[in-house]
């Protein structure tokens, strides 16, 4: 199975591990990520204003490219996933945005929201299947207590993202079980890490970071996993000394393809 793949800006730079381990794992699991040609940055945050068009066009180009190849579009970064999926929803549900975006792009085949945007975790759950994944694990992380950190963008707004229950999600916990480890459920797992505030208000983000890390520590997590490079940046140097990994790194490790 070949999927169109949108890596996003950070996976080509500071979050190369998130990308690299996903590609190695996909190969081991029998599917292929084919990077979209000439993709452009999604902008990192979904433009909520109803009159914004230019800031949505890079997403529409990626969505239209996947459609032209007749493929679903896979994402890894939580932020890219959120932006692409919300913009796709705009094209599907908002005639004004659909018309204006197509007026700008003048594609040979107008884009009407046909592409399915799927997060890598959803491929593991819905295509590979967590039971089948478990059978392919050669190096189970037995006994390791892992706190899934969802943050905000994978789950919300749930009406559009439609990945899991936004208040009591389990996709990452099921993933953790599939790689042989033990999931730790803690209260702060789906509360924001402080996001882009860390550029100019590091104190506010430090408060968020310590609250999240303490919450994970209190429930005896040995480490946390995330799908988001900004969550990684904001959380990794915490006073509770809880390491943070990309979920793809632990996946590659469990599949025996990390090196």
């Amino acid at each position: 199975m070949v999927y169109s793949y949108y890596p996003g800006c950070t996976l080509k730079n500071k979050a190369q591990d998130l990308d690299r381990y996903a590609r190695l794992s996909a190969k081991a699991l029998g599917f292929e990520l084919e990077e979209i040609e000439n993709w452009q940055c999604c902008g990192g945050v979904y433009p909520m204003a109803r009159d914004e068009i230019a800031t949505k066009l890079s997403s529409v180009r990626a969505l239209a490219d996947a459609k032209a190849h007749g493929r679903d579009l896979i994402t890894l970064c939580s932020a890219c996933h959120n932006v692409l999926k919300q913009v796709n929803n705009d094209i599907l549900t908002d005639e004004d945005i659909r018309t204006r975006a197509n007026n700008y792009l003048k594609l040979d085949d107008p884009y009407m929201g046909e592409t399915k945007v799927i997060h890598f975790l959803e491929v593991l759950r819905d295509v590979v299947g967590f039971e089948a994944l478990k059978e392919k694990v050669t190096n189970p992380l037995t006994g390791k207590k892992i706190g899934a950190y969802y943050g905000c963008l994978l789950l919300r707004p749930s009406g559009v993202m439609d990945m899991d229950n936004p208040e009591n999600p389990k996709i990452m916990e099921d993933f953790i079980r599939a790689i042989g480890a033990e999931p730790v459920i803690y209260p702060q797992r789906n509360e924001c890490c402080g996001g882009y505030l860390s550029l100019e208000d590091k104190e506010a983000v430090a408060k968020r970071r310590e609250k999240i890390a303490q919450s994970a520590a209190e429930f005896e997590a040995e480490c946390m996993v995330t799908a988001c490079p900004l969550c990684m940046y904001n959380l990794k140097k915490n006073d509770s000394n809880i390491p943070v990994y990309y979920f793809t790194e632990l996946l590659a490790e469990a599949l025996g393809v990390k090196n």
Partner: protein, 125 residues
């Protein structure tokens, strides 16, 4: 167009749906950083009291985490109101909150590209 109309148009939000339960502010991870909280944004836009919001640092403390959007029992979507007021402010010439010249000293060796593009999209036009 007056500011209230402008904000309502940009956001697409019906602020009159708010029943003032305060759940948006109760769940906001940036609550302690804000002078005006999400429920106040909704109420002040409803009553046309926009200027204090336009001039408040609170505009730049919202994390766009969608917690208030998800948890509002009335589907008001307060984050879209905050975003609309912020845009009404920074779309005016000279009002960019983040200037490119300020960025180099804000960086460290691990700063992800995602942080920069997100901040620019939120803080500048």
């Amino acid at each position: 167009m007056d500011k209230r109309e402008e904000v309502l148009r940009i956001s697409g939000v019906n602020v009159r749906k708010c029943m003032r339960c305060g759940k948006c502010s109760g769940t906001c991870p940036s609550y302690d950083e804000m002078e005006f909280h999400p429920h106040q944004f909704v109420y002040m836009v409803e009553t046309g009291n926009i200027e204090p919001l336009m001039n408040s640092e609170s505009l730049y403390k919202c994390l766009s985490c969608f917690a208030c959007v998800e948890r509002c029992p009335r589907g008001v979507e307060p984050a879209k109101v905050v975003e609309a007021v912020r845009l009404a402010a920074i779309r005016q010439k000279g009002n960019n909150h983040l200037k490119a010249s300020a960025v180099p000293e804000l960086l460290d060796e691990d700063t992800p590209q995602q942080l920069l593009v997100s901040a620019f999209r939120k803080y500048s036009k």
